[in-house]
């Protein structure tokens, strides 16, 4: 299993599903546990990731015992669809239609990709520090739909989300994506609340 440890960590997109072992032992124990954590730029999503790493490390680490449990952590980031700037009238005498040049679109896309990559590498760094079996995923589209879709398609066993989205709102609220996923995702959902704030 040594080579599995090296290759299983940090694979983008491609996943090696833990082969189902013959059910000789306790039939009710699920062999493969896939946990998915959704991250964005918010601190609360990274706190959620850290929470998972701290609490489920025994399940997810790249150790023999943990691998027997078949845990895998999928970190997913959803990019909002790139805004294709249509005409925004800038000059005087509105007839001047300024449309985004393709180079502008390209640079916006590039900036977004770099932002995603930075987020994911920060997440990976956190996971690697505790030797967690991780894979990362970038999806594009509406965050709540993409996450719920991913949960279905990848047979996620537990979805973990932060509790507050962008914006410093009181702890009583949960972000709209977390809220949506709590209602619509097909798997158990864990909403991680940040600790009491030190204001």
């Amino acid at each position: 299993m040594a080579e599995d440890q090296a290759t299983a960590a940090m694979e983008t997109l491609a996943v090696e599903k833990q082969p189902e072992t013959t059910v000789a032992e306790a039939p009710t124990v699920t062999i493969t546990k896939r946990m998915m954590v959704a991250i964005d730029e918010s601190d609360s999503s990274f706190y959620a990731l850290q929470w998972v790493i701290d609490h489920f490390s025994n399940l997810l680490m790249t150790t023999e015992a943990a691998q027997a449990e078949g845990g895998l952590l999928t970190v997913v980031h959803v990019q909002s669809p790139s805004h294709h700037f249509a005409a925004f009238p800038a000059g005087p005498g509105g007839a001047t239609a300024v449309y985004a040049s393709s180079s502008m679109i390209e640079s916006v896309k590039k900036a977004e990709q770099e932002a995603s990559a930075a987020l994911l590498s920060r997440a990976l760094h956190m996971c690697r520090a505790k030797q967690i079996r991780t894979e990362t995923m970038v999806l594009e589209g509406d965050a709540k739909d993409m996450i719920c879709q991913a949960v279905e398609q990848m047979h996620v066993d537990l979805l973990v989300v932060g509790s507050r989205g962008l914006g410093k709102i009181r702890r009583a609220f949960i972000g709209s994506v977390s809220d949506y996923c709590a209602h619509h995702a097909n798997c158990p959902i864990l909403i991680v609340k940040p600790p009491k704030e030190i204001n």
Binding site: A26, T28, V29, T30, K33, W51, D54, H55, F56, S57, N58, L59, E69, G71, D157, L158, R171, A172, F173, I174, D179, A182, H183, H184, N186, C187, P188, I189, L190, I191, V192, K193, K196
Partner: protein, 167 residues
């Protein structure tokens, strides 16, 4: 992990299949993988409704049926406690505390989570709602917003066939 023994999982159960499913899911995630090295303590809370909350309307003769409803609720509470104990011992998980508390489930759960310094609160979700799509039950929804600790909501997997039953 230094503070491994201090982490508490509080799970709320009522007498429904959703709750027992949530209990089993929680056991599988938090307890069975760590058998040799338990990381969490399990606290099971049964929120026992009050007779008055169960009897919706107040009509003549209500006073007479209250004791019967109370008896029934007590029986249910005993049944729930017994079943939880069975489920947990089947998975060789020790229950640190098993409580049946009377009152409004929402407040009971929030208060129990505080009292036990829970790391995570686990609930099943009925999804009461007369629509096909699954909505969160009101208790799980309330707790998702108001609990101070992390909340895990376990829904029963939807049946594969598109059944149009409304409940």
């Amino acid at each position: 992990m230094a503070s491994g023994s201090e982490r508490v999982v509080v799970i709320g159960v009522d007498d429904s299949s959703h709750s027992y499913h949530a209990l089993e899911t929680a056991l599988d995630l938090f307890f069975t993988p760590f058998k040799s090295n338990p990381q969490f303590k399990l606290v099971v809370i049964h929120a026992r409704l009050t007779a008055t909350s169960v009897i919706g309307f107040a009509g003549p003769g209500t006073v007479d049926i209250i004791p019967l409803v109370e008896q029934d609720l007590d029986k249910t509470a005993e049944l729930v406690k017994k079943k939880c104990t069975e489920v947990c011992s089947a998975k060789s998980v020790e229950i640190t505390s098993l409580e049946a508390i009377e009152g409004d489930p929402r407040n009971i759960m929030v208060e129990a989570a505080e009292r036990h310094h829970a790391s995570v609160l686990v609930l099943g979700s009925h999804g009461y709602g007369a629509v096909k799509r699954v909505f969160l039950g009101s208790v799980s929804d309330y707790l998702a917003h108001h609990a101070h600790c992390s909340v895990m909501i376990v829904k029963k997997p939807k049946a594969k066939h598109a059944s149009n039953d409304k409940h």
